[in-house]
Structure formats: C-alpha cells, structure tokens
C-alpha cells in the first residue's frame, strides 16, 4: 500500500467516525434537552391537566382515523402502481410523493384552495353540508394528505417485491387476479404494509403545518398535540417540554417496535426468507 493511500484510509475512517458522531449529536442533543427539562412529577401533573388530555385524545383520534382512511385509499393505489403500467403513471408517482416534500404550510393552503369555503369544491361541499376548515374532519384530511405517501410507498414496494412465481402458481390453480392479490400478494407484502401503516400513523401524529393552516387552532376540535406545543411555547415552556416529550416517546416507541419486528420502512433488506406459499 502506498503512503498516500494509507493516509487516505486513516483519514477517511477518522473522518467518517467524526461526521457520524456529529450527526448523532445533532439529532440526540435536542431530544436530550427536552428529556432533561421534564421532571417525572411535572409529567404526571401535566397528564392530569384537562387541556393536555384533550389535545392528546384529539391527536390519537385524528391520527388513527387518518391512518384508517390512508389504508383504505392508499392500498388500491399502491396495488395499481405495483402491478400496472398505464399512461401518466410517472405523473401519478410524483403526485403520490409530493406531500412528503412540499412544506406543510403550503399543503394546508392548497387544501383551503380546494376544499375551503371559497375553494374549488367549496360550493358543492356546502350544498352537501360538508365543512372541513375549522373542524376535526379537516384535521384528519390534513393528516391524510401529509401521511398517505408513506403508506402508499411502503405498500407499493412490498407488492412489487412479491415474486411472480407465487402468483403464477396461484394462476395455474385458476385463481383470478383479485383472488391472487388477496390471498398471495397481500399476505406476502404484509410486513411492508404494516411498516407503511406505522410510518403513516407516526407522521399523522406529528402533523402541524397543514393542520394549523387548513383546520385552524381551537381547543377540543382542531388543537392536536403539536399545535398545543406550539401554543405552549408562547406561555409555558415547561408544559411545552412535557407535551413534546410525550410526542417524542410515542414516536420513538412506534419506530423501535417496528424495527424490532423487522418492519422499519428504511430497514436494510433482510436475507430472503424461504417464503412460504400461502395455504390453500
């Protein structure tokens, strides 16, 4: 090995460690700051606060509702994208990814332009008696908008990864396409779908920008935990820290649980299992 390349090796290794440590600190220290600010007694006291419970329940209700809606609407789209070629597929793919990268405030504004009282569908909605801005339903819509891409992406990858030979085998047994999907593709892709559900839920739980822009900020109807944290930052930092801690812990438990089950969205690909053909 030449002198120059051994310097490179040593420098590269040290550099990698230093930069990785820097990133670790960048992500870990803010969380440590929150954890260290909250005392256990303050945590219990906050959990007894009616307003805190109210926003926690609202967050749980809306994020679970958003996850269910995302599942119902997201799985068919994931199946189409995984199994079909059609004109404009690229555009649909971009559309499905877009909410992950556009600023949530922009998403909220766009939702107002479409579903608000003065929006594209405003007249039809008010004729049907549907109101979304300033309502809990509006919170769910904002959360679905922001979090459904995680579900579609994960489920699609799972569907696409199913080896064709299992489907072919089902077809030789005269299984129809839909039957084959339900009994072969969906079960084999289930880990990916569950990972998608987890990420979708976590994202919905943390949604802030689209919610406050589209649904407003009102205790009991639209003030979810992230909005409550934002409000508390302006009056009571200790309460803000406590609620932040609750959100961080919920998200961390969710992610750790999924990883434990080998279901992380970005978990490294595992060695292919000896996939069992579903029982007939």
């Amino acid at each position: 090995m030449t002198r120059r390349s051994s310097w490179l090796e040593a420098g590269g290794r040290i550099g990698t460690l230093v930069l990785a440590a820097l990133l670790g600190a960048l992500l870990a220290l803010p969380l440590a700051g929150i954890v260290l600010r909250v005392t256990p007694s303050a945590l219990l006291q906050q959990l007894a606060e009616p307003t805190v419970r109210q926003s926690l329940w609202l967050s749980l209700e809306t994020s679970l509702a958003a996850t269910v809606v995302s599942l119902v609407l997201g799985l068919p789209m994931a199946a189409l994208l995984a199994t079909r070629e059609f004109p404009g597929k690229r555009a649909v793919e971009v559309l499905m990814d877009l909410p992950m990268v556009i600023p949530p405030t922009v998403a909220g504004f766009a939702l107002l332009m479409a579903f608000g009282r003065a929006g594209l569908l405003g007249k039809s909605f008010s004729a049907l008696g549907i109101t979304l801005p300033f309502t809990t339903a509006g919170v769910v819509v904002a959360q679905v908008f922001m979090s459904v891409p995680f579900l579609v992406g994960a489920a699609r990858a799972g569907f696409a990864a199913v080896e064709p030979r299992y489907l072919d085998a089902a077809a030789t047994l005269r299984a129809g396409e839909v039957y084959g999907f339900l009994r072969v593709r969906l079960p084999l892709a289930l880990p990916s779908v569950i990972a998608g559900i987890g990420m979708c839920w976590a994202r919905a739980l943390g949604e802030f920008g689209a919610t406050i822009t589209f649904a407003g900020n009102m205790a009991g109807s639209t003030r979810t935990v992230p909005l409550d944290v934002y409000l508390l930052l302006q009056e009571n930092l200790d309460s803000a820290a406590t609620l932040s801690l609750i959100l961080v812990v919920m998200a961390a438990v969710l992610l750790a649980g999924m990883r434990q089950a080998g279901l992380g969205l970005f978990a490294p690909p595992r060695a292919p299992r000896s996939a069992q053909a579903p029982a007939r």
Binding site: L112, G216, N217
Partner: protein, 267 residues
C-alpha cells in the same frame, strides 16, 4: 482511490463551507428588528429609509406575534430592537433584563371587525356576532390583538344595546385561535371565517378590496399601544432606528398606514 474514500473526502471538504454559512456576515453592518406582525409594512418602509440614510447598513426584520418574539429573545435570539404591540410582552422582556433602555410608546392602533366583502355570515352590526353558528376567528389570548379583542368583547357586553353575556355568546362562535393578527386577516380574506377582529392598520391596500370593516366604537375599543426599545448587548445602530421611528418622518409613515399617534388620549 476507493469510492468510499472519495465521498468521505467530499464530505470533509464541505465542512468549512457549512461553518462559513453558520458564521455571521461580519463585514456588513446590520440592525435586526423584532417587530409585531401588524407593523410589517410600516416598519419595512421605515427600514428602507434607514438603509438609505446609513449606506452599507441593512435592516433585517423578524415579524411575528409579539409573544413569539419575546419568548424567542428570552431563549437567546439576537435582536437589536424590539417593537411590541402591547405593554404586556414589552414588560415581559423588561422583566427578563433583555432591554437596553426604557421602552417608548410610538404608536396606537384601533381594533376593527372585518368581514369578507361577500359577507357569508350576514353580519351588519356588532350585535350580529352573537348569532349562533357564525364562524369567528380571533388571535389567541397570548397574542396582543387576541387579548385586546377579548377586552373589547367584555366592554361591549356592558354596553347599551348589547345582550349581557355578549362576550360569552360571541366566544362560543370562535372556531380558531390564530398565532398573529395577519393570520386572522388571512382567514377572513380567504372567506373561511365569517368575521375576525384585527387592527385598523391591518386593512392594508392589498386586502381592502376583499374586506368590509365594521368599526368598534371608541369607548369600547381598547386602543392598542405599541412600544419600542433597544435590546441589551445589541448593535448601537438600533438606537438610530428607534430614533427614526419616533421622528416626524417615521410617525408620518405610521400614520399613512392607519396607525394613531402615541399622544392620542384614550377614552
């Protein structure tokens, strides 16, 4: 050279660039002004005059609800000047020893009720706000205009021609508490809200075509008091900026945008 080594080298090379971006631009002089959202246009205009007067100096603004600005400064945000829309948050900053000098009142502002020009809620007078089912948007109670708005409703509920508990009836129509006055104006401008309470000066030329104003009579109108102060440890140019705001020239800019002069006696 291995593929991995090359990338590590690239990342290492980026580090000084990142450090340079994080470091303040020492060469250029600047004044950082933290100001209430309602002051956006007026202080931006005064800032331009300031920059013309002091070539090479830039004025940077952070416009937000006064409560946000006060807590940001408390948490260590660097500012040279603070302009608050009420006394409460100026006092908050003063109590935490953030100010370099005593605050000075430099403007006042009247509250007004704004409704979309199409008037979806059918609101013709203040009393209509108590009608059940209306969608009212106010700023949160921590926001200066939110506190003033609630004070106005309380005063109106004691006034002739208004139902007792008027304030409670109106607040039961509240559908959202916004984080600053401009967010309230935007919700009304977008026709999502039937009504909102903002400052007179927030009905700017750009939103005027879409809004209708219903005045709140002066005896019931808690006129907002704006104060300004330099921040401890800040750039000395901050004093010059405060002086310009208080000068006849600065006051003319504020008056042109709908603010009242500081001397106006409150009823």
């Amino acid at each position: 050279m291995s593929f991995r080594g090359r990338h590590t080298g690239l990342a290492l090379g980026l580090l000084p660039a990142l450090a340079a971006m994080a470091a303040p631009l020492a060469a250029q002089q600047s004044v950082t002004v933290f100001a209430a959202a309602s002051l956006t246009e007026a202080l931006t205009a005064i800032g331009r005059t300031f920059e013309q007067r002091y070539p090479g100096v830039t004025v940077k603004f952070n416009f937000a609800g006064s409560q946000v600005l006060a807590t940001q400064m408390e948490q260590g945000a660097r500012a040279d000047v603070f302009a608050s829309a009420d006394q409460r948050w100026m006092k908050y900053a003063e109590d935490r020893k953030l100010l370099a000098a005593a605050p000075v009142t430099f403007a006042r502002n009247r509250l007004v009720l704004v409704i979309p020009r199409s008037n979806p809620g059918g609101i013709e007078r203040l009393q209509d706000l108590a009608r059940p089912g209306l969608k009212l948007v106010l700023a949160g109670r921590q926001v200066p205009v939110g506190a003033y708005s609630r004070e106005a409703l309380t005063r109106l509920s004691l006034a002739d021609g208004f139902p007792r508990r008027f304030d409670q009836l109106v607040l039961s129509n509240l559908v959202s508490e916004e984080e600053n006055v401009r967010a309230v104006a935007a919700k009304v401008q977008l026709r999502e809200a039937d009504a909102g309470i903002v400052y007179q000066s927030d009905v700017t030329e750009s939103v005027k075509p879409q809004l209708r104003i219903i005045p709140i009579p002066d005896p019931h109108n808690p006129i907002a008091e704006y104060s300004i102060a330099t921040i401890a440890g800040g750039n000395s140019l901050g004093r010059g900026f405060v002086a310009l705001v208080l000068s006849a020239e600065g006051q003319a800019v504020l008056a042109a945008r709908g603010f009242l002069p500081p001397g106006t006696p409150t009823p």
